[in-house]
């Protein structure tokens, strides 16, 4: 890393820039790190996340591959078998599906299959989620599929600092990591600099983004991640006017799951709402709600609620605002948490 005095000062940076910087720094620090995917070289990726990497490190380290996702991930498996650390870019969420077999049958299992003799340190970067007006196949939230596969880590940043920190951690990990990039937040900005090691987030630790100031009372925890984190923070601000004091837990890592941070928060507040874009049925929220219920039942003053995308194929761009969980839907759920006062039999969905 060539840290200069200028870089140390925090400056406005986008999540996209932080992600690119994470790969650049990882490649500079470790010659075995290779970036590969469709259009990642000369173009710098369709989102320009890999901009400049091919120029700085050459085609062999940042490679424009043929257009074939199974082939990209399948060859990355072989490269990792030979000691490289491939960082694979899937162009869009739904275009990662052709690579599912390689991911599930090999990437996730090679360590296990070989009794630890052959770990695969592969990072699979997947831009995911909606809210950017994409046409079909450009807005899927596929995290539940990845979460259901033992052997994979699944992480998703919501802040510029986490984007950098988690991606560095993912590339350094000896286990495969599915790195979900909330493309809606690519252009979100923060004052940030890569030269703050305290901001390198460990995989597997959630973070409380907003604390409830008066534990008990009308408090609740919003459990969320990725693109829904800013939505929840906004909802928490708005809820103050209604007399609600909300904690916001940003999971950052879906696998491994940080029960400790989530449950500590729910025990403080006594209520939980899980918020994500992905479908509710069979989605991550069901798993999270079950975990909270199993661990915090006696602390709960209301059922654990979910605010999720509808159980429909991701809608066309002109209708997506009706699908995506927004601040109002989160606030409605929070209102439904008043179990003692106005919750009546039969009002649950």
């Amino acid at each position: 890393m060539t840290a200069t005095a200028v870089e140390t000062a925090r400056k406005p940076a986008t999540m996209a820039q932080a992600l690119g910087r994470a790969m650049r720094d990882a490649m500079a620090a470790d010659p075995t790190v290779h970036v590969m995917g469709e259009d990642v070289g000369t173009l710098g990726g369709v989102f320009r996340i890999t901009d400049g990497l091919a120029k700085e490190f050459g085609d062999d380290r940042c490679t424009d591959t043929p257009l074939a996702e199974a082939g990209i991930l399948g060859t990355a498996v072989g490269m990792a078998m030979y000691g490289l650390r491939p960082v694979v870019e899937m162009q869009f969420d739904a275009f990662a599906y052709p690579a599912f077999e390689q991911l599930i049958s090999h990437v996730a299992r090679m360590r296990n299959r070989t009794r630890g003799a052959m770990p695969l340190p592969i990072t699979v970067r997947v831009p995911y989620g909606g809210g950017i007006g994409g046409v079909e196949h450009h807005s899927d939230s596929s995290e539940a599929y990845y979460m259901a596969t033992p052997g994979l880590h699944v992480v998703t940043p919501a802040t510029v600092a986490d984007a950098y920190g988690l991606l560095r951690a993912a590339i350094a990990s000896d286990d495969p990591v599915v790195f979900l990039e909330p493309k809606r937040l690519y252009w979100s900005k923060a004052d940030w600099s890569p030269d703050h090691p305290e901001e390198v987030a460990p995989i597997g630790r959630a973070v409380v983004r907003r604390r409830a100031s008066v534990p008990g009372g009308r408090a609740a925890t919003l459990v969320t991640y990725g693109p829904s984190v800013p939505v929840c923070l906004e909802a928490a601000e708005a809820a103050r006017a209604e007399g609600w004091d909300l904690e916001v837990v940003d999971l950052r890592s879906l696998v491994p799951f940080d029960d400790e941070t989530v449950c500590a928060s729910v025990r403080r507040t006594g209520r939980a709402v899980i918020v994500h874009e992905s479908t509710g049925f069979g989605g991550p929220g069901g798993e999270i709600a079950a975990r909270i219920t199993e661990r915090c039942f006696h602390h709960l003053e209301a059922p654990v609620l979910r605010v999720a995308g509808f159980d429909i194929p991701y809608p066309p761009p002109m209708l997506e605002r009706h699908h995506l969980p927004g601040v109002d839907r989160v606030l409605d759920a929070v209102a439904r948490l008043q179990w003692e006062s106005d919750w009546t039999e039969g009002s649950v969905g």
Binding site: H34, D60, T65, P66, A68, A70, G71, L73, G74, T75, A76, V77, G78, M79, A80, M81, Y82, G83, L84, P98, E101, Q102, S105, H106, R109, M110, R111, N112, R113, T114, R115, G116, A117, M118, P119, P150, G151, H153, S173, D174, D175, G204, V255, P256, F257, D259, E260
Partner: protein
């Protein structure tokens, strides 16, 4: 006057000249599978290689019959035999240098064993005590791969990585005729050719994918022809002629090693046994067909050659037979020992470090095992007092 006839009207220009990227002719396979045994060219094959191939074929055949017998005794969950295909298996293993890598499919246990893998370890997957379980680095044998053709891109990636590092490594990947219909086959060949990766693909065309004959698998003139579309040479070889397979693979490996890029080799062979011990081959093939192939047996072919050149006598044949018998006996004996399994291993290799969730689950299983052990001890004690 039409619009186009008016002065200054739009005149289409001819398209830019088109030329093929490479000359397709040298990539095309021969019309007939390449044969060596029984031809005058066989005189040039070294006696050492011929006898080595012969001995490995005999051992390989015996290995297959022994492993099949072990399924009948319940020692193996299943065994996909390579009887009839031993020439491909043996040549694939013997053609590689020590630093090279072999990428076998689920049927290629024998190739892995000939390459040096412990025969019992090579059967781990099929016995069911682990999913392959061996250390692939030890003999540079990738895990036997069950999902068809998915090992092919791995071979390409590994070969590519080795070349990037400046290492002299060739990867040889095995696939069946059915596997060539999978997308991963296509993607692997395409990547290999674009990257000029030092990799060789060997298709063992044994006529069937379980029950489906080649005619229902592909409309291509031959599977070797598929190479041309990717820009690599395709070679056709008699897959029962061990010397020919060894030579064709040898040339392909040499080419890859020298930076000439990948080759697709199609070996025409036959699966004499059923798909696995669990399959009923009489449903989809005739005795007549089977007999025709039995007449073209890989061991018979090479034996005839050795005899013709006077490179072998009855004593030597007997010695090799006995060696194969000893190998089978040792395998039988070791496979008849119950593997010692530790259920706690289930949690050991999922991640580099156990997640909190796996730690909890491991503790649960530990407790269950302890309770089971306690119960067993109590039962034993009761039996003792009775």
């Amino acid at each position: 006057m039409t619009v186009l006839e008016q002065p200054g009207a739009y005149r289409p220009t001819p398209p830019p000249a088109w030329r093929p990227r490479v000359d397709a002719a040298p990539l095309l396979p021969d019309a007939e599978p390449y044969r060596l045994l029984g031809t005058s060219a066989a005189d040039d094959v070294s006696p050492d290689l011929l006898t080595r191939l012969y001995a490995e074929l005999v051992r390989g055949r015996r290995y297959n019959t022994q492993a099949t017998a072990l399924t009948r005794q319940g020692r193996l969950a299943v065994y996909p035999s390579s009887t009839g295909q031993e020439a491909c298996q043996v040549a694939a293993a013997l053609v590689l240098e020590e630093q090279d890598w072999l990428f076998p499919s689920y049927r290629d246990t024998l190739a892995a064993v000939v390459r040096g893998l412990d025969p019992v370890q090579a059967l781990t997957l099929l016995r069911g005590d682990w999913h392959t379980g061996y250390d692939p680095h030890e003999h540079r044998v990738a895990p036997l791969c069950t999902p068809l053709a998915t090992q092919l891109p791995h071979a390409v990636g590994l070969a590519h990585a080795a070349r990037l590092k400046g290492d002299d490594v060739v990867a040889l990947a095995l696939v069946g005729d059915g596997g060539t219909s999978e997308g991963d086959f296509h993607e692997a060949l395409n990547f290999a050719a674009v990257w000029q990766a030092p990799v060789v693909f060997l298709v063992q065309n044994n006529g069937f994918a379980i029950s489906v004959p080649l005619a229902k698998q592909t409309a291509a003139p031959s599977l070797a022809h598929k190479a041309v579309g990717y820009g690599m040479p395709g070679r056709l070889v008699d897959g029962n002629d061990a010397a020919a397979v060894h030579q064709v693979l040898g040339e392909a490996v040499r080419r890859a090693r020298e930076g000439g890029g990948p080759t697709l080799v199609e070996a025409i062979t036959y699966r004499v046994d059923a798909h696995t011990n669990a399959d009923d081959a009489t449903r989809y093939r005739s005795d007549k067909e089977l007999e025709a192939w039995r007449g073209h047996d890989p061991i018979d072919l090479i034996t005839a050659e050795l005899r013709r050149r006077d490179l072998i006598d009855d004593d030597r044949v007997e010695a090799i037979r006995q060696d194969a018998e000893a190998m089978a006996a040792a395998l039988r004996e070791r496979m008849n020992e119950d593997p010692v399994l530790d259920p706690m291993d289930l949690f050991e290799h999922v991640y580099a470090e156990k997640t909190d969730q796996l730690r909890e689950q491991a503790a649960q299983l530990r407790a269950e095992l302890d309770a089971e052990g306690q119960e067993d001890r109590e039962n034993e004690a009761q039996e003792g007092t009775r």
